[in-house]
Subunit: 95 residues, 2 copies
């Protein structure tokens, strides 16, 4: 959980997560989106992976990164502890 909070405390990493909503991408494709060197992006990916916010699977010489539910769940759980004390906008219907 510690790792997840740390991971999302950075604009670039949050933007990487946003980008991955579109679907899995390899490190090069991710790096292209940012005005930053590949090693720096690689480091960000590492932290996101440690936080289990993303998964990495090697496909040949490429590594595909995709969102990982686990990390988000740990943040969600923490958040739920407070959500009960506030009222957050709820969907009109239960999906």
């Amino acid at each position: 959980m510690e790792a997840a909070f740390k991971a999302i405390n950075d604009v670039t990493r949050r933007e990487i997560l946003q980008f991955l909503i579109q679907g899995p991408q390899n490190a090069g494709q991710i790096a292209k989106q940012f005005d930053m060197t590949k090693p720096s992006i690689s480091h960000h990916l590492d932290l996101l992976k440690q936080a289990q916010l993303i998964d990495a699977t090697k496909k040949g010489q490429f590594i595909h990164y995709s969102l990982n539910k686990k990390g988000f769940e740990s943040i969600h759980q923490w958040f739920q502890g407070f959500a009960q004390h506030f009222e957050f906008p709820k969907p009109k219907i239960r999906l």
Copy 2:
């Protein structure tokens, strides 16, 4: 939003938020909970306030701190962007 992510990226500050679930507390009462000097706690409170995760209201020489919905909402909003891509446990009934 930036400020909220920053604020929750620290164990002490998250514990302060947890503590405030019990209800408003002044700075001294909060500081007593932690093995840390009052100035350090004061600084943490300042960051939480900047993030609008807590409110501060002066009552005489005391300052009462309480949870503030606003900061939590900004985190909630960010999170919702991903929640739609995963399935998180939902309550059985709509409250």
